[in-house]
Protein backbone atom coordinates (compact mmCIF):
# COMPACT_ATOMS: atom_id res chain seq x y z
CA UNK A 1 0.00 0.00 0.00
CA UNK A 2 1.39 3.39 -0.97
CA UNK A 3 2.09 6.31 1.33
CA UNK A 4 1.06 9.95 1.15
CA UNK A 5 3.72 12.66 1.06
CA UNK A 6 3.05 13.35 4.76
CA UNK A 7 3.49 9.70 5.68
CA UNK A 8 6.71 9.46 3.65
CA UNK A 9 8.29 12.41 5.44
CA UNK A 10 7.36 11.00 8.84
CA UNK A 11 8.61 7.52 7.88
CA UNK A 12 11.95 8.92 6.76
CA UNK A 13 12.40 10.83 10.01
CA UNK A 14 11.42 7.79 12.06
CA UNK A 15 14.04 5.73 10.23
CA UNK A 16 11.40 3.44 8.73
CA UNK A 17 10.73 2.12 5.27
CA UNK A 18 7.00 2.21 5.72
CA UNK A 19 4.44 3.58 8.16
CA UNK A 20 0.68 3.10 8.40
CA UNK A 21 -1.95 5.58 9.54
CA UNK A 22 -2.53 5.30 13.29
CA UNK A 23 1.00 4.08 14.07
CA UNK A 24 2.90 5.93 16.82
CA UNK A 25 6.45 6.83 15.88
CA UNK A 26 9.33 8.73 17.38
CA UNK A 27 10.92 11.09 14.86
CA UNK A 28 14.03 13.16 14.49
CA UNK A 29 13.02 16.75 13.72
CA UNK A 30 14.83 19.20 11.43
CA UNK A 31 13.66 22.43 13.00
CA UNK A 32 12.14 23.41 16.35
CA UNK A 33 10.42 26.81 16.48
CA UNK A 34 9.13 29.01 19.28
CA UNK A 35 7.90 32.58 19.76
CA UNK A 36 7.79 35.10 22.61
CA UNK A 37 4.59 33.60 24.09
CA UNK A 38 5.31 29.89 23.84
CA UNK A 39 9.10 29.85 24.30
CA UNK A 40 9.15 31.13 27.92
CA UNK A 41 7.00 28.16 28.98
CA UNK A 42 9.25 25.83 26.96
CA UNK A 43 12.40 27.34 28.44
CA UNK A 44 11.13 26.68 31.99
CA UNK A 45 10.36 23.08 31.06
CA UNK A 46 13.71 22.74 29.30
CA UNK A 47 15.44 23.78 32.53
CA UNK A 48 13.52 21.08 34.42
CA UNK A 49 14.86 18.52 31.98
CA UNK A 50 18.35 19.38 33.13
CA UNK A 51 20.20 18.28 29.99
CA UNK A 52 22.20 21.50 30.04
CA UNK A 53 22.46 21.65 26.26
CA UNK A 54 20.32 21.90 23.18
CA UNK A 55 20.32 19.23 20.47
CA UNK A 56 21.54 21.61 17.77
CA UNK A 57 22.22 25.35 18.04
CA UNK A 58 21.35 25.92 14.38
CA UNK A 59 18.09 24.00 14.29
CA UNK A 60 16.23 25.94 16.95
CA UNK A 61 14.50 29.09 15.71
CA UNK A 62 13.30 31.72 18.19
CA UNK A 63 11.18 34.61 16.93
CA UNK A 64 9.71 37.19 19.29
CA UNK A 65 6.82 38.39 17.15
CA UNK A 66 3.54 38.26 19.07
CA UNK A 67 3.97 41.08 21.59
CA UNK A 68 7.13 42.49 20.01
CA UNK A 69 8.26 45.26 19.92
CA UNK A 70 7.46 44.71 23.61
CA UNK A 71 3.98 46.02 24.30
CA UNK A 72 4.23 46.23 28.09
CA UNK A 73 6.48 45.34 31.02
CA UNK A 74 5.30 41.73 31.28
CA UNK A 75 5.87 41.18 27.56
CA UNK A 76 9.31 42.73 27.87
CA UNK A 77 10.12 40.26 30.65
CA UNK A 78 8.98 37.36 28.48
CA UNK A 79 11.01 38.57 25.49
CA UNK A 80 14.01 38.90 27.79
CA UNK A 81 13.70 35.26 28.86
CA UNK A 82 13.85 34.22 25.19
CA UNK A 83 16.77 36.55 24.40
CA UNK A 84 18.81 35.38 27.40
CA UNK A 85 18.18 31.75 26.53
CA UNK A 86 19.27 32.35 22.93
CA UNK A 87 22.51 33.96 24.13
CA UNK A 88 23.23 31.37 26.78
CA UNK A 89 22.79 28.43 24.42
CA UNK A 90 24.26 30.07 21.32
CA UNK A 91 21.05 29.80 19.27
CA UNK A 92 22.04 31.14 15.85
CA UNK A 93 18.51 31.68 14.56
CA UNK A 94 17.26 34.17 17.10
CA UNK A 95 15.64 37.17 15.43
CA UNK A 96 15.82 40.47 17.29
CA UNK A 97 13.30 43.23 16.57
CA UNK A 98 15.35 44.82 13.76
CA UNK A 99 15.64 41.56 11.78
CA UNK A 100 12.47 39.87 12.74
CA UNK A 101 9.20 39.19 11.10
CA UNK A 102 6.12 37.15 11.78
CA UNK A 103 7.61 33.69 12.27
CA UNK A 104 5.69 31.95 9.48
CA UNK A 105 6.62 34.63 6.96
CA UNK A 106 10.20 34.61 8.17
CA UNK A 107 11.19 30.93 8.13
CA UNK A 108 10.40 30.23 4.46
CA UNK A 109 11.92 33.58 3.43
CA UNK A 110 15.16 32.85 5.29
CA UNK A 111 15.44 29.33 3.88
CA UNK A 112 15.00 27.83 7.34
CA UNK A 113 12.04 25.66 6.28
CA UNK A 114 12.74 23.42 3.29
CA UNK A 115 11.03 20.67 1.29
CA UNK A 116 11.04 17.28 2.98
CA UNK A 117 11.74 18.77 6.41
CA UNK A 118 9.99 17.65 9.57
CA UNK A 119 9.32 20.83 11.51
CA UNK A 120 7.58 21.34 14.81
CA UNK A 121 6.77 24.74 16.21
CA UNK A 122 5.14 25.91 19.39
CA UNK A 123 2.66 27.87 17.32
CA UNK A 124 -0.36 26.40 15.63
CA UNK A 125 0.34 28.03 12.26
CA UNK A 126 3.60 26.13 11.90
CA UNK A 127 1.57 24.17 9.32
CA UNK A 128 2.37 27.04 6.89
CA UNK A 129 5.62 25.35 5.75
CA UNK A 130 3.66 22.50 4.22
CA UNK A 131 3.42 24.81 1.19
CA UNK A 132 7.10 23.97 0.56
CA UNK A 133 6.51 20.22 0.71
CA UNK A 134 7.58 19.90 4.34
CA UNK A 135 5.70 18.15 7.13
CA UNK A 136 5.19 20.97 9.60
CA UNK A 137 2.87 20.99 12.56
CA UNK A 138 2.10 23.00 15.67
CA UNK A 139 2.81 21.61 19.11
CA UNK A 140 2.77 22.98 22.63
CA UNK A 141 5.60 24.37 24.71
CA UNK A 142 6.35 21.09 26.47
CA UNK A 143 6.84 19.34 23.14
CA UNK A 144 9.09 22.22 22.11
CA UNK A 145 11.13 21.86 25.31
CA UNK A 146 11.60 18.12 24.89
CA UNK A 147 12.55 18.57 21.22
CA UNK A 148 15.06 21.35 22.02
CA UNK A 149 16.81 18.85 24.30
CA UNK A 150 16.49 15.66 22.29
CA UNK A 151 15.87 16.73 18.68
CA UNK A 152 12.96 14.30 18.68
CA UNK A 153 9.18 14.26 18.95
CA UNK A 154 6.48 11.58 18.86
CA UNK A 155 3.76 11.49 16.25
CA UNK A 156 0.73 9.50 15.37
CA UNK A 157 0.83 8.83 11.63
CA UNK A 158 -2.13 10.78 10.23
CA UNK A 159 -4.64 9.82 7.62
CA UNK A 160 -4.89 12.27 4.73
CA UNK A 161 -7.65 14.21 3.06
CA UNK A 162 -7.00 15.18 -0.54
CA UNK A 163 -8.39 18.40 -2.01
CA UNK A 164 -8.29 18.74 -5.78
CA UNK A 165 -8.86 22.19 -7.28
CA UNK A 166 -9.55 22.40 -11.00
CA UNK A 167 -10.86 24.88 -13.55
CA UNK A 168 -9.79 28.43 -14.32
CA UNK A 169 -9.15 30.62 -11.31
CA UNK A 170 -11.23 33.80 -11.74
CA UNK A 171 -9.66 37.22 -11.32
CA UNK A 172 -9.72 38.34 -7.64
CA UNK A 173 -9.89 34.78 -6.33
CA UNK A 174 -6.75 33.93 -4.36
CA UNK A 175 -5.29 31.14 -2.22
CA UNK A 176 -7.06 32.73 0.75
CA UNK A 177 -10.42 32.29 -0.94
CA UNK A 178 -9.68 28.67 -1.83
CA UNK A 179 -8.79 27.79 1.74
CA UNK A 180 -11.71 29.73 3.25
CA UNK A 181 -14.04 27.98 0.82
CA UNK A 182 -12.57 24.60 1.83
CA UNK A 183 -12.94 25.33 5.56
CA UNK A 184 -16.50 26.48 4.91
CA UNK A 185 -17.10 23.16 3.19
CA UNK A 186 -15.61 20.75 5.75
CA UNK A 187 -15.98 22.82 8.94
CA UNK A 188 -13.54 23.81 11.67
CA UNK A 189 -13.02 20.19 12.72
CA UNK A 190 -13.42 18.65 9.28
CA UNK A 191 -9.77 17.63 9.12
CA UNK A 192 -9.19 16.99 12.81
CA UNK A 193 -6.03 14.87 13.38
CA UNK A 194 -5.60 14.58 9.58
CA UNK A 195 -3.26 15.82 6.87
CA UNK A 196 -4.73 18.12 4.25
CA UNK A 197 -3.13 17.65 0.87
CA UNK A 198 -3.82 20.39 -1.66
CA UNK A 199 -3.47 19.43 -5.30
CA UNK A 200 -4.82 19.83 -8.83
CA UNK A 201 -4.11 22.15 -11.76
CA UNK A 202 -5.06 25.28 -9.84
CA UNK A 203 -2.53 24.55 -7.11
CA UNK A 204 0.14 23.69 -9.67
CA UNK A 205 -0.21 27.18 -11.09
CA UNK A 206 -0.48 28.96 -7.75
CA UNK A 207 2.35 31.23 -6.58
CA UNK A 208 4.34 30.37 -3.48
CA UNK A 209 2.82 33.26 -1.50
CA UNK A 210 -0.68 31.94 -2.22
CA UNK A 211 0.34 28.38 -1.37
CA UNK A 212 1.75 29.55 1.97
CA UNK A 213 -1.60 31.22 2.69
CA UNK A 214 -3.44 27.96 2.03
CA UNK A 215 -1.21 25.71 4.12
CA UNK A 216 -1.28 28.35 6.88
CA UNK A 217 -4.99 27.80 7.48
CA UNK A 218 -5.00 23.98 7.59
CA UNK A 219 -5.22 24.30 11.37
CA UNK A 220 -8.47 26.26 10.99
CA UNK A 221 -10.04 23.04 9.72
CA UNK A 222 -8.45 21.15 12.62
CA UNK A 223 -5.76 19.69 10.34
CA UNK A 224 -2.50 18.34 11.67
CA UNK A 225 -0.70 19.72 8.66
CA UNK A 226 -1.40 21.11 5.22
CA UNK A 227 0.88 20.07 2.40
CA UNK A 228 1.56 20.68 -1.29
CA UNK A 229 3.87 18.48 -3.35
CA UNK A 230 7.01 20.39 -4.32
CA UNK A 231 7.35 21.34 -8.00
CA UNK A 232 9.21 23.89 -10.15
CA UNK A 233 7.55 26.81 -8.37
CA UNK A 234 8.77 25.39 -5.05
CA UNK A 235 12.27 24.82 -6.38
CA UNK A 236 12.65 28.30 -7.79
CA UNK A 237 11.56 29.65 -4.39
CA UNK A 238 13.91 27.54 -2.27
CA UNK A 239 16.94 27.34 -4.59
CA UNK A 240 18.44 30.68 -3.70
CA UNK A 241 17.45 30.44 -0.01
CA UNK A 242 18.46 26.94 1.05
CA UNK A 243 21.75 26.56 2.88
CA UNK A 244 21.44 22.83 3.48
CA UNK A 245 20.26 19.83 1.43
CA UNK A 246 16.56 19.05 1.12
CA UNK A 247 14.39 16.22 -0.17
CA UNK A 248 11.51 16.20 -2.57
CA UNK A 249 8.67 13.81 -1.79
CA UNK A 250 5.50 12.98 -3.68
CA UNK A 251 2.49 10.91 -2.69
CA UNK A 252 2.44 7.41 -4.18
CA UNK A 253 -0.16 6.88 -6.92
CA UNK A 254 -1.74 4.16 -4.75
CA UNK A 255 -1.65 6.18 -1.51
CA UNK A 256 -4.83 5.81 0.51
CA UNK A 257 -6.93 8.86 1.40
CA UNK A 258 -9.67 9.08 3.99
CA UNK A 259 -11.53 11.23 1.48
CA UNK A 260 -10.97 13.10 -1.76
CA UNK A 261 -12.85 16.34 -2.45
CA UNK A 262 -12.86 18.17 -5.74
CA UNK A 263 -13.64 21.83 -6.30
CA UNK A 264 -14.32 23.53 -9.61
CA UNK A 265 -12.97 27.03 -9.02
CA UNK A 266 -14.21 28.54 -12.30
CA UNK A 267 -17.33 30.11 -10.80
CA UNK A 268 -15.83 30.92 -7.42
CA UNK A 269 -15.96 34.39 -5.87
CA UNK A 270 -13.73 35.83 -3.16
CA UNK A 271 -14.89 34.45 0.19
CA UNK A 272 -15.62 36.20 3.50
CA UNK A 273 -15.80 34.35 6.84
CA UNK A 274 -18.36 35.82 9.23
CA UNK A 275 -17.96 35.87 13.02
CA UNK A 276 -17.15 33.84 15.05
CA UNK A 277 -15.72 30.85 13.19
CA UNK A 278 -13.64 30.58 10.01
CA UNK A 279 -16.20 28.06 8.70
CA UNK A 280 -18.96 30.72 8.49
CA UNK A 281 -18.12 31.54 4.90
CA UNK A 282 -20.11 33.34 2.23
CA UNK A 283 -19.24 34.64 -1.25
CA UNK A 284 -18.24 38.30 -1.06
CA UNK A 285 -21.33 39.47 -2.93
CA UNK A 286 -23.46 38.06 -0.10
CA UNK A 287 -21.32 39.89 2.45
CA UNK A 288 -21.31 43.21 0.62
CA UNK A 289 -22.53 46.19 2.60
CA UNK A 290 -21.54 45.06 6.10
CA UNK A 291 -20.10 48.21 7.70
CA UNK A 292 -16.67 48.05 9.33
CA UNK A 293 -14.60 50.13 11.74
CA UNK A 294 -11.17 48.74 10.97
CA UNK A 295 -9.25 46.92 8.23
CA UNK A 296 -6.16 44.85 8.98
CA UNK A 297 -3.93 43.70 6.14
CA UNK A 298 -1.09 41.45 7.25
CA UNK A 299 -0.41 38.41 9.48
CA UNK A 300 1.23 35.08 8.74
CA UNK A 301 -1.70 34.36 6.43
CA UNK A 302 -1.53 37.41 4.17
CA UNK A 303 1.43 39.62 5.05
CA UNK A 304 3.64 38.70 2.07
CA UNK A 305 4.70 40.80 -0.89
CA UNK A 306 1.97 39.61 -3.27
CA UNK A 307 -0.62 40.43 -0.62
CA UNK A 308 0.72 43.96 -0.29
CA UNK A 309 0.99 44.26 -4.06
CA UNK A 310 -2.69 43.55 -4.63
CA UNK A 311 -3.71 45.85 -1.77
CA UNK A 312 -1.52 48.62 -3.20
CA UNK A 313 -2.97 48.16 -6.68
CA UNK A 314 -6.45 48.82 -5.30
CA UNK A 315 -5.48 51.65 -2.95
CA UNK A 316 -3.28 53.50 -5.46
CA UNK A 317 -4.50 57.06 -5.87
CA UNK A 318 -7.51 56.44 -3.59
CA UNK A 319 -8.31 57.37 -0.01
CA UNK A 320 -9.43 55.07 2.78
CA UNK A 321 -12.91 55.84 4.06
CA UNK A 322 -12.68 58.66 6.63
CA UNK A 323 -14.60 56.75 9.29
CA UNK A 324 -12.39 53.66 9.40
CA UNK A 325 -8.87 52.80 10.49
CA UNK A 326 -6.65 50.83 8.13
CA UNK A 327 -3.48 49.21 9.46
CA UNK A 328 -1.05 47.33 7.27
CA UNK A 329 1.56 44.90 8.63
CA UNK A 330 4.31 43.72 6.26
CA UNK A 331 5.24 40.19 7.40
CA UNK A 332 9.01 40.68 7.66
CA UNK A 333 11.63 43.39 7.38
CA UNK A 334 12.57 42.13 3.90
CA UNK A 335 8.95 42.28 2.77
CA UNK A 336 8.77 45.80 4.23
CA UNK A 337 11.87 46.84 2.27
CA UNK A 338 10.62 45.35 -0.94
CA UNK A 339 7.23 47.03 -0.51
CA UNK A 340 9.04 50.30 0.08
CA UNK A 341 11.18 49.93 -3.04
CA UNK A 342 8.12 49.11 -5.11
CA UNK A 343 6.29 52.16 -3.80
CA UNK A 344 3.54 50.26 -1.97
CA UNK A 345 4.29 51.82 1.41
CA UNK A 346 3.99 55.28 -0.10
CA UNK A 347 0.69 54.27 -1.70
CA UNK A 348 -0.64 53.02 1.65
CA UNK A 349 0.37 56.11 3.59
CA UNK A 350 -0.92 58.48 0.92
CA UNK A 351 -4.22 56.61 0.98
CA UNK A 352 -4.45 57.23 4.71
CA UNK A 353 -3.47 53.81 6.04
CA UNK A 354 -1.06 53.24 8.93
CA UNK A 355 1.90 50.97 8.19
CA UNK A 356 3.46 49.08 11.08
CA UNK A 357 6.72 47.33 11.72
CA UNK A 358 6.29 43.53 11.35
CA UNK A 359 4.44 42.03 14.34
CA UNK A 360 1.47 39.76 15.02
CA UNK A 361 -0.12 42.81 16.64
CA UNK A 362 -3.93 42.80 16.53
CA UNK A 363 -4.18 39.39 14.80
CA UNK A 364 -4.42 37.79 18.25
CA UNK A 365 -5.71 40.86 20.06
CA UNK A 366 -2.20 41.61 21.27
CA UNK A 367 -1.60 45.27 20.51
CA UNK A 368 -1.45 47.83 17.65
CA UNK A 369 -5.11 47.89 16.69
CA UNK A 370 -7.35 46.37 19.37
CA UNK A 371 -11.12 46.61 18.91
CA UNK A 372 -13.48 48.31 21.35
CA UNK A 373 -16.84 46.89 22.43
CA UNK A 374 -19.21 46.62 19.49
CA UNK A 375 -16.56 47.35 16.83
CA UNK A 376 -16.14 45.34 13.67
CA UNK A 377 -12.98 44.55 11.72
CA UNK A 378 -12.32 43.04 8.33
CA UNK A 379 -8.95 41.29 8.49
CA UNK A 380 -6.74 39.20 6.24
CA UNK A 381 -5.82 37.11 9.29
CA UNK A 382 -6.91 33.53 9.99
CA UNK A 383 -9.14 33.49 13.08
CA UNK A 384 -12.33 35.30 13.99
CA UNK A 385 -13.13 33.71 17.34
CA UNK A 386 -15.00 35.66 20.02
CA UNK A 387 -12.65 38.31 21.43
CA UNK A 388 -9.84 37.42 19.02
CA UNK A 389 -9.01 41.03 18.17
CA UNK A 390 -10.07 42.76 21.35
CA UNK A 391 -13.30 43.18 23.30
CA UNK A 392 -15.39 39.99 23.65
CA UNK A 393 -18.25 41.90 22.03
CA UNK A 394 -16.25 42.96 18.97
CA UNK A 395 -16.40 41.12 15.64
CA UNK A 396 -13.87 39.95 13.07
CA UNK A 397 -14.61 39.11 9.43
CA UNK A 398 -11.91 37.33 7.41
CA UNK A 399 -11.06 37.92 3.76
CA UNK A 400 -8.33 38.17 1.14
CA UNK A 401 -6.18 41.33 0.81
CA UNK A 402 -8.11 42.32 -2.33
CA UNK A 403 -11.46 42.36 -0.50
CA UNK A 404 -9.87 44.07 2.51
CA UNK A 405 -8.34 46.82 0.38
CA UNK A 406 -11.55 47.43 -1.58
CA UNK A 407 -13.51 47.59 1.67
CA UNK A 408 -10.99 49.99 3.17
CA UNK A 409 -12.00 52.51 0.52
CA UNK A 410 -15.77 52.19 0.94
CA UNK A 411 -15.95 51.53 4.68
CA UNK A 412 -18.08 48.44 4.13
CA UNK A 413 -17.39 44.97 2.80
CA UNK A 414 -16.98 45.41 -0.93
CA UNK A 415 -16.14 43.12 -3.87
CA UNK A 416 -12.83 44.24 -5.41
CA UNK A 417 -14.31 44.56 -8.91
CA UNK A 418 -16.39 47.49 -7.70
CA UNK A 419 -13.21 49.47 -7.01
CA UNK A 420 -10.78 48.38 -9.71
Amino acid sequence: MGMTISQKILAYHAGKEHVDAGELVNCRVDVVLGNDITSPVAIEEFARLGTGEVFDQERIVLVPDHFAPNKDIKSAEQAKVVRSFARQYGITNYFEVGQMGIEHCLLPEQGLALPGDLIIGADSHTCTYGALGAFATGVGSTDMAAAMATGEAWFKIPESLKFVYYGKLPRWVSGKDLILHTIGDIGVDGARYMSMEFTGEVIQNLSMDNRLTMANMAIEAGGKNGIIEPDDITLSYVKERAQRPYNLYKSDPDAVYAEIREYDVSKMEPVVAFPHLPENTRPVSEAAGVSIDQVIIGSCTNGRIEDLEIAASLLKGKKVHPEIRVIIFPGTQQIYLEAMRKGYIETFIEAGAAVSTPTCGPCLGGHMGILAKGERALATTNRNFVGRMGHPESEVYLSSPAVAAASAITGKITPPWEIA
Partner: protein, 164 residues
Protein backbone atom coordinates in the same frame (compact mmCIF):
# COMPACT_ATOMS: atom_id res chain seq x y z
CA UNK B 1 -6.60 7.74 38.68
CA UNK B 2 -10.19 8.22 39.87
CA UNK B 3 -11.99 11.39 40.83
CA UNK B 4 -15.41 12.84 41.50
CA UNK B 5 -16.54 16.36 40.77
CA UNK B 6 -19.29 18.77 39.82
CA UNK B 7 -19.88 19.46 36.13
CA UNK B 8 -19.74 22.74 34.21
CA UNK B 9 -21.03 22.33 30.68
CA UNK B 10 -19.90 24.09 27.50
CA UNK B 11 -20.88 23.85 23.82
CA UNK B 12 -19.02 23.01 20.61
CA UNK B 13 -15.78 24.50 19.23
CA UNK B 14 -14.67 26.14 22.48
CA UNK B 15 -11.47 27.75 21.21
CA UNK B 16 -8.25 28.64 22.97
CA UNK B 17 -9.14 32.34 22.87
CA UNK B 18 -12.25 31.54 24.91
CA UNK B 19 -10.26 29.34 27.31
CA UNK B 20 -7.58 31.95 27.89
CA UNK B 21 -7.77 35.18 25.87
CA UNK B 22 -4.49 36.36 24.31
CA UNK B 23 -4.62 39.59 26.32
CA UNK B 24 -3.53 37.53 29.35
CA UNK B 25 -0.70 35.67 27.64
CA UNK B 26 1.98 38.01 28.93
CA UNK B 27 2.41 35.66 31.89
CA UNK B 28 3.04 31.94 32.34
CA UNK B 29 1.91 31.75 35.98
CA UNK B 30 -0.87 29.09 36.35
CA UNK B 31 -2.56 31.00 39.20
CA UNK B 32 -2.66 34.23 37.14
CA UNK B 33 -3.94 32.39 34.06
CA UNK B 34 -6.56 30.59 36.17
CA UNK B 35 -8.09 33.95 37.12
CA UNK B 36 -9.24 34.32 33.49
CA UNK B 37 -9.96 30.68 32.68
CA UNK B 38 -12.94 30.33 30.23
CA UNK B 39 -13.60 34.04 30.69
CA UNK B 40 -14.74 34.75 27.11
CA UNK B 41 -17.06 31.72 27.15
CA UNK B 42 -18.51 32.36 30.62
CA UNK B 43 -17.28 35.46 32.52
CA UNK B 44 -18.51 34.02 35.85
CA UNK B 45 -16.52 30.79 35.52
CA UNK B 46 -13.26 31.82 37.24
CA UNK B 47 -15.19 32.95 40.33
CA UNK B 48 -17.38 29.86 40.67
CA UNK B 49 -15.09 26.96 39.69
CA UNK B 50 -13.80 24.87 42.62
CA UNK B 51 -10.95 22.42 42.91
CA UNK B 52 -12.03 19.04 41.61
CA UNK B 53 -14.76 20.32 39.26
CA UNK B 54 -15.15 18.76 35.83
CA UNK B 55 -15.68 20.42 32.45
CA UNK B 56 -17.95 18.66 29.95
CA UNK B 57 -18.07 20.03 26.41
CA UNK B 58 -19.13 19.23 22.86
CA UNK B 59 -16.91 18.63 19.82
CA UNK B 60 -13.53 20.18 18.96
CA UNK B 61 -12.73 21.51 22.47
CA UNK B 62 -9.54 23.58 22.51
CA UNK B 63 -9.42 24.43 18.80
CA UNK B 64 -7.23 27.30 17.70
CA UNK B 65 -3.82 28.22 18.99
CA UNK B 66 -1.08 25.97 20.32
CA UNK B 67 -0.86 27.93 23.57
CA UNK B 68 -0.17 25.55 26.42
CA UNK B 69 -1.54 28.35 28.59
CA UNK B 70 -5.01 26.92 27.77
CA UNK B 71 -4.70 23.54 29.55
CA UNK B 72 -2.46 25.24 32.16
CA UNK B 73 -5.25 27.75 32.94
CA UNK B 74 -7.80 24.94 33.27
CA UNK B 75 -5.51 22.85 35.46
CA UNK B 76 -4.56 25.97 37.42
CA UNK B 77 -8.25 26.65 38.10
CA UNK B 78 -8.42 23.27 39.82
CA UNK B 79 -10.42 21.46 37.14
CA UNK B 80 -9.81 17.73 37.59
CA UNK B 81 -10.74 16.54 34.14
CA UNK B 82 -12.20 17.68 30.81
CA UNK B 83 -14.65 15.38 29.04
CA UNK B 84 -15.58 16.35 25.49
CA UNK B 85 -17.17 14.83 22.42
CA UNK B 86 -13.79 15.46 20.77
CA UNK B 87 -10.68 17.58 21.27
CA UNK B 88 -8.64 19.66 18.85
CA UNK B 89 -5.33 17.95 18.18
CA UNK B 90 -2.82 20.35 19.75
CA UNK B 91 -4.96 20.83 22.86
CA UNK B 92 -5.17 17.05 23.25
CA UNK B 93 -1.41 16.72 22.97
CA UNK B 94 -0.73 19.62 25.32
CA UNK B 95 -3.10 18.29 27.97
CA UNK B 96 -1.30 14.97 28.06
CA UNK B 97 2.07 16.69 28.07
CA UNK B 98 1.22 18.83 31.10
CA UNK B 99 -0.83 16.16 32.87
CA UNK B 100 -4.39 17.51 32.55
CA UNK B 101 -6.67 14.45 32.38
CA UNK B 102 -8.99 14.45 29.37
CA UNK B 103 -11.44 11.95 27.91
CA UNK B 104 -13.39 11.84 24.65
CA UNK B 105 -16.97 10.65 25.12
CA UNK B 106 -19.90 11.66 22.96
CA UNK B 107 -22.46 9.85 25.15
CA UNK B 108 -21.28 11.61 28.30
CA UNK B 109 -21.69 15.01 26.67
CA UNK B 110 -25.25 14.20 25.64
CA UNK B 111 -26.37 12.69 28.96
CA UNK B 112 -24.63 14.80 31.58
CA UNK B 113 -26.22 18.05 32.77
CA UNK B 114 -24.61 21.12 34.26
CA UNK B 115 -24.35 20.64 38.03
CA UNK B 116 -24.30 16.81 37.93
CA UNK B 117 -21.79 14.97 40.10
CA UNK B 118 -19.75 12.56 38.02
CA UNK B 119 -17.07 10.00 38.79
CA UNK B 120 -14.26 9.43 36.32
CA UNK B 121 -11.92 6.45 36.13
CA UNK B 122 -9.12 7.55 33.87
CA UNK B 123 -7.49 4.15 33.40
CA UNK B 124 -10.63 2.31 32.29
CA UNK B 125 -12.24 5.35 30.68
CA UNK B 126 -15.47 4.79 32.63
CA UNK B 127 -17.56 7.85 33.51
CA UNK B 128 -20.41 7.50 36.04
CA UNK B 129 -23.18 10.04 36.47
CA UNK B 130 -23.88 9.96 40.22
CA UNK B 131 -27.26 11.68 39.76
CA UNK B 132 -28.67 9.01 37.48
CA UNK B 133 -26.31 6.10 38.12
CA UNK B 134 -25.69 5.77 34.38
CA UNK B 135 -22.24 4.95 33.08
CA UNK B 136 -20.58 6.00 29.82
CA UNK B 137 -17.51 4.43 28.30
CA UNK B 138 -14.70 6.55 26.85
CA UNK B 139 -11.75 5.04 25.02
CA UNK B 140 -8.88 5.08 27.52
CA UNK B 141 -5.55 6.68 26.54
CA UNK B 142 -3.34 4.60 24.23
CA UNK B 143 -0.45 2.91 26.05
CA UNK B 144 2.17 5.37 24.86
CA UNK B 145 0.25 8.30 26.35
CA UNK B 146 -0.61 6.42 29.54
CA UNK B 147 3.14 6.12 30.11
CA UNK B 148 3.56 9.87 29.71
CA UNK B 149 0.62 10.50 32.07
CA UNK B 150 1.93 7.96 34.59
CA UNK B 151 5.24 9.84 34.72
CA UNK B 152 3.35 13.09 35.36
CA UNK B 153 3.80 14.59 31.89
CA UNK B 154 6.29 14.62 29.04
CA UNK B 155 9.16 16.31 30.86
CA UNK B 156 9.34 13.69 33.58
CA UNK B 157 8.88 11.01 30.96
CA UNK B 158 11.87 12.29 28.94
CA UNK B 159 13.94 12.72 32.13
CA UNK B 160 13.18 9.16 33.06
CA UNK B 161 14.10 7.95 29.56
CA UNK B 162 17.37 9.90 29.33
CA UNK B 163 18.47 8.77 32.80
CA UNK B 164 18.20 5.13 31.79
Amino acid sequence: MKFTGQVYKFGADIDTDAIIPARYLNTTDPAELAKHCMEDADPTFPAKVKTGDIIVADKNFGCGSSREHAPIAIKGAGVACVIATSFARIFYRNSINIGLPILECDQAYKAINEGDQVEVDLESGQITNLRTGDTYQAVPFPGFMQDIMAQGGLINYVRHKTSQ
